[in-house]
Amino acid sequence: MALSFYPGCSLEGMANDYARSITAVFEDLGIDLVEIDDWSCCGSTAAHSLDETMSVALPARNLAAAGEMGLDIVSPCAMCFNRLRYAQLMLKRGSFDIPWQVDTGLAVHDMTRFLAAPDMLAQIRKRVVRPLANLKTVCYYGCQMVRPPSITGHTDFENPQTLDAIMGAVGAQVKDWSYKSTCCGASIGIGRREIRDTLTNRILDKAAHTGAEAIVVSCPLCQANLDTVPRRPGAGRLPVFYFTELMRLAFRPAAEAGWFRAHLTNPLPLLNTKGLVAA
């Protein structure tokens, strides 16, 4: 099976660890991710905020490229996913004067949705050699992957299940909580940091209060936010994993501890106590 892969800018920088784990996991699952040739930025919030047309045109270039490969698109980044879907919908609806031919029939998956399909979950369960049995997690989806449902297709926007299902499949304990898709404020993190800090800290507090030992995410922006936000003095931190990192952990008899050095909030002590990495 092959998919056209749209990594998005973050996976080249801040989230390159995410990128590595994705490659590894998909290798393990025997699925080819064909990176879209010479992909370019989706425009993110900026294009959307300043120039509606650009927010359609920029993703369109990548949709077009994927179209040439004739492969459905999978996107690991919630923001990119949202922008691609949005552009696709707009192009379906109205005509935009853009220089690219776009096949709007192409499916755009968010990576978690793709992996949470029943047959995929079965595959994942087969690969698990080390169930993460006593790891207490909460899954955090953020906004862009689930809202608005009209674009993302997540009708369970308030209580999405894809990450929960995947974490369940690798044997982790998944706690339900109410803040799965509460916004972390990433999009204005630079301009109005204090707002971002307030929102992100609240999410970390709620996660800790739920009794989770770690937060599982799929969005690079969310991860960066939750992992790097300054905490109130005294307030603890939780390791923030990309779901693919934990999948990889479950797929391998022994994990390379080095894998996790990219995290600011060091997850090794936790993984240690759970006997998931060698001390």
């Binding site: 339900d176 109410s178 209060h209």
Partner: protein, 558 residues
Amino acid sequence: MKNTAHPHISGKALVVGGGIGGIQCALDLADTGFYVYLLEKSASVGGTMARLDKTFPTNDCSTCMISPKLVQVARHRNIEILTLSRLAALNGEPGNFRVQIEKQPRYVDQEKCIACGACAQKCPQKVPDPFNGGLSMRKAAYLTFPQAVPLKYAIDAQNCLYLTRGKCGLCRRICPTRAIAYDQQPETLELTVGAVVLCTGFELALTRQNGEYGYDRYRNVVSSLQYERMLSATGPYGGHVRRPSDGRTPHRVAWIQCVLSRDPSRNRPFCSAVCCMHAAKQAVLTRQHDPDSQATIYFMDVRAHGKGFDDYIERARAHYGVHYKRSMISQVYLEPDSEALIIETFDHHLNRKVEETYDLVVLSSGFKPSEAFGDLAKRLEIDTNPYGFALTDFQHPVHTSRPGVFVCGATETPKDIPETVIQAGAAAAEAAALVHPARHRDVTSETTPPERALDAEPRIGVFVCHCGSNIAGVVDIEKTVAYAKTLPHVAYADHFLFSCSNDTLQKMEALIRDKRLNRIVVAACSPRTHEPLFQSVLQKAGVNPYLFELASIRDQCS
């Protein structure tokens, strides 16, 4: 004097749906000289009203109000209740329809069942009780609710071990009257009626699937009907409001209005008309149950458009201290430890979000026509609006698009009990106008033998009732009977398992004749509703009905 005019018009009518609308309509037709088939899909009549605790604006007990009506339909000689039944087909023309009724087996012989409850006691199979919104369990052999009419047990085929796996059969072994009948088969009845009235009622639009406000995700988020059961003395918690999660009494309760009402985004743009008053009433009752409680209603507009309703809202606010917050909620959050619920609103004075914590959240769900009505409407080829309610005409507000088929209650629009009762009368009037040439033709009237001349000496007959175990459990029946025999004028004394069951009544009648009894005392349950029942027995036996006395030993002793 039999009416023989217009032989092609039938003097019978079919009322579909045994809720308060159907019951009222059946009575209004039967009391004006027509024979009525009252069709009910479940095992007993009563509908939603039987599930309510109290009702606005009087705060009268709902059961107490509907019970007499239930007894009335049950004992009306010209009303035939067909439970577990559905209207399969309708042919012919107004005044002379041929209807096909599909009747599902009850697996309990209605003639034999004396409602002693032994089957349910012994039945090993527990299932969530739909009557209590799944908040409690009932057995596979069950009685819908204590005052059910007909007061006969039923076995639900989906869950009965014997019917599903051929195992068990316990109830058949222990039933004192051999009433259990696993071999009952579905039957189809062919009836002729002159008119049809549809009173199929409503159900909540809120379902386990659509997950509004964490419904079916958080244990302490309940629907308005579930909360109604929680308030009710016959409910899952015996009238003490408890949290489903931990059984503690909730002190902070919130209502969220317009759940799946006034919500075009969910293609439910209409208003369900009764939820505002319903919530106000529940809030008032909550404050009455527990003076320390705090009741908050989140709403948009208070729709108290009925007679005296605003006054009720005002009392809820001023006298009972119910908080009204004109603000709609997006999402309900869970407090993990206590399973309390957090509601976020924006406070304009503080200019910030405020988190309010509640022990219990009640969702005032909008209405939709009852599930079965959709197909029924198709089968009967009657027009419905985009939301599935029956379409009627301005000048003829209870006429469906099919002549001779009338409608009442929430089948037409969401409406409260009084409006439903009113509409039931109107539907009855239209049906009667259609078939009135056949008035009195298909009904029978009481014929009583002439009264026996009264012997000078009183000869009192005393009948003591076990009422299953209700009385027998507390009172020593044998002793009581023996004692009664010693009393002056007592010519005869005996005891019965259930005096009110049909076969007992026949025995009683015979005894009165044979023993020439001329005064009758029945020591039984209190409900005055039973007095006319026993009086009719006296009449049948040729004894003046006023020579009857009821000793209410169930209330006052047991």
